[in-house]
């Protein structure tokens, strides 16, 4: 038997090896077991939204938004929302159930896999789940003929980054949750406002500049929606008077930085919660 390196004393940064993959595989196996149940809502929801908001509400909207029709405008919003929900709920309610009720984490850390790897595996799975959901919605939006740029092929990669970000934010809440009802707070006070106020269903430029700035700094979905729309339609929406190029660069940097920060922070918080 080969002896692995001695572990360094506990630090902020996690100790991760390929074993993260083992945890991901576990969650993936469960997902494929219930694939029908998992896919159906992901398929139906965007169709309902496109019908209700795009066709229904959209018929009342006579003008265009920056040159695009209303139904075309909300397509990228729906993709982004699928990414956010997929990752956030996977790493809040679902991870909490595995951790607290099923004691799955306890069972895994009795094997050569350490707690940091369990959490990282959960986060990567959350990001994967978000990518799957986002890609399904992308396919539906495309089927409605609402994708006008080949850059849309990059959306799964963006969905993975966005998914990792929302998974990590969700996992931070899981680390703070003492019971499952706690998730009502982030769901209603953070996710729902974000769902509405991140340029998903109307362009943020019609709001006061203070709200635009707040959304830009605090709401990750703003960046995900902006970048997804740019990839779907080939152009970036304006915001707080920044040029499309600067806006694109800032959004990418913001998402990368936030995803990395919350990734490490959530593992640190979970370790602090679970290692007594």
């Amino acid at each position: 038997m080969t002896t692995e390196n001695r572990e360094p004393a506990s630090s902020f940064f996690p100790k991760l090896t390929y074993r993260v993959w083992r945890v991901w595989q576990r969650d993936f196996d469960v997902f494929t077991k219930t694939i029908f149940v998992n896919f159906l809502p992901a398929l139906l929801e965007p169709i309902l939204y496109l019908a209700a908001f795009g066709v229904g509400l959209g018929s009342l909207i006579t003008g265009t938004i920056e040159g695009t029709s209303y139904i075309q405008f909300i397509g990228p919003g729906l993709i982004s929302i699928a990414v956010m929900y997929g990752a956030f709920f996977e790493c809040t309610y679902a991870s909490f159930v595995r951790m607290y009720f099923q004691k799955t984490f306890d069972a895994i850390i009795a094997t050569p896999i350490n707690l940091d790897e369990v959490i990282a595996g959960e986060l990567l799975w959350g990001a994967t789940r978000a990518t799957i959901n986002g890609t399904i919605v992308l396919a539906i939006v495309a089927a409605f003929g609402l994708v006008s740029s080949p850059l849309a092929l990059l959306i799964p990669a963006l969905a993975f980054l966005g998914g990792l970000l929302f998974a990590s934010i969700g996992m931070c809440f899981t680390a703070l949750a003492s019971n499952i009802d706690f998730f009502n707070f982030p769901s209603f006070l953070y996710i729902t406002p974000m769902f509405l106020l991140s340029g998903t269903f109307f362009q943020l430029t019609i709001m006061p500049e203070a709200i635009q700035t707040t959304a830009f700094i605090l709401l990750p979905l703003t960046h995900l929606v902006g970048l997804t729309r740019a990839l779907t339609l080939g152009k970036m929406d304006p915001l707080i008077g920044l040029s499309p190029e600067v806006l694109t660069a800032l959004s990418i940097v913001w998402m990368l930085a936030a995803a990395l920060t919350f990734f490490f922070l959530s593992i640190f918080l979970m370790r602090r919660k679970l290692v007594k």
């Binding site: 083992r22 799955t104 306890d106 069972a107 009795a110 094997t111």
Partner: protein, 307 residues
């Protein structure tokens, strides 16, 4: 049976949860091939000790070496050679019986074909072969316990940790688990078990460690501890002052215990002295039995409820 090779060595081992000292500076050793039982009332520190051995809990103080490796810095290597059957059911409810074992084997990097072969062997060994495609919630308590033990063995561990392996089982289920533990012992697996059942410890353990309030209060083979603390035989009868006085005159060397309207007399004199008493007090209801580990346990840890 017992070689002199030490597999687990704890020195000054201490675990604190905030201000509460769960394990209080204990020293113990476990030899290769031994079956050692940790006995103690609820909250004594048994589970905490076991959890430190498989690196689930970090130590607060002291040192702990498992198969020559340091529990504080080599947890991964330790966990590769240890099998754990925890007290609570943490089987994966998202998978069926055999998939539970296959997925667990994958955590140890076992290739799929080997994992399946091993899973089938274990299901056969634990008489769960027919349940392989059942979901976890369809299993009885006894089947779940056996599946947890099967899972603990998937990596062919050198050291097996069993935390209350038979709690909640019916007598049949308990005896199946006991037989399996004996078979594993014969194969040379070092076993540590915690239990509340004294007959279980007496039946399975080469040595027991009695722990209370986080401290080791006694250690030795079950037979020696019984001899040392409870003697050979116990006489039990209903308490009243005159009987007690007369008995004390009859048996000046015996140890008397009065509790709950019962007199218990422990003696080291092999056979005969209690029969004499029985003849002397004809018609008086009394029972004479062989002293056991439960007598020792209650003597050492007291009769007060802990929780």
């Amino acid at each position: 049976m017992n070689s002199s090779e030490i597999v687990i060595a704890a020195q000054n081992l201490t675990k604190k949860f905030n201000d509460f000292v769960a394990v209080d500076h204990i020293d113990f050793e476990v030899y290769r091939g031994e079956c050692v039982g940790f006995l103690g009332p609820n909250g004594a520190g048994k589970t905490t000790t076991v959890r430190m051995i498989y690196c689930f809990l970090p130590l607060t103080e002291g040192s702990l070496s498992v198969a020559g490796m340091d529990a504080s810095t080599q947890s991964r290597d330790i966990k590769k050679i240890v099998g754990v059957a925890p007290q609570e059911d943490n089987l994966d409810p998202d998978f069926n019986v055999i998939k539970n074992l296959q997925v667990y084997a994958r955590y140890f990097d076992m290739p799929k074909t080997e994992a399946t072969r091993r899973a089938m062997d274990l299901l056969r060994f634990f008489q769960l072969e027919e349940k392989q495609t059942k979901s976890i919630e369809q299993l009885s308590t006894g089947m779940k316990r056996r599946l947890i033990m099967a899972r603990a063995l998937i990596n062919e561990p050198q050291i097996l940790l069993l935390d209350e392996p038979t709690t909640g089982l019916d007598p049949q289920g308990r005896h199946i688990v006991w037989d399996e533990i004996r078979t594993l012992k014969k194969k040379g697996v070092t076993i540590i078990l915690t239990t509340h059942y004294m007959e279980e410890a007496a039946a399975l353990c080469d040595r027991v460690i009695v722990i209370d309030n986080g401290k080791i209060i006694e250690t030795g083979s079950p037979q020696n501890l019984v001899k040392k603390h409870a003697g050979e035989e116990v006489l039990e009868m209903t308490f009243d002052e005159t009987t007690l006085k007369m008995l004390k005159e009859e048996l000046p060397d015996a140890h008397f215990e009065v509790y709950n309207n019962q007199i218990r007399i422990f003696t080291n004199q092999t056979h005969g002295s209690f029969e004499r008493i029985a003849r002397k007090f004809p018609g008086m209801p009394m029972s004479i039995r062989v002293a056991n580990l439960e007598d020792v346990f209650l003597k050492l840890t007291g009769r007060k409820l802990r929780e």
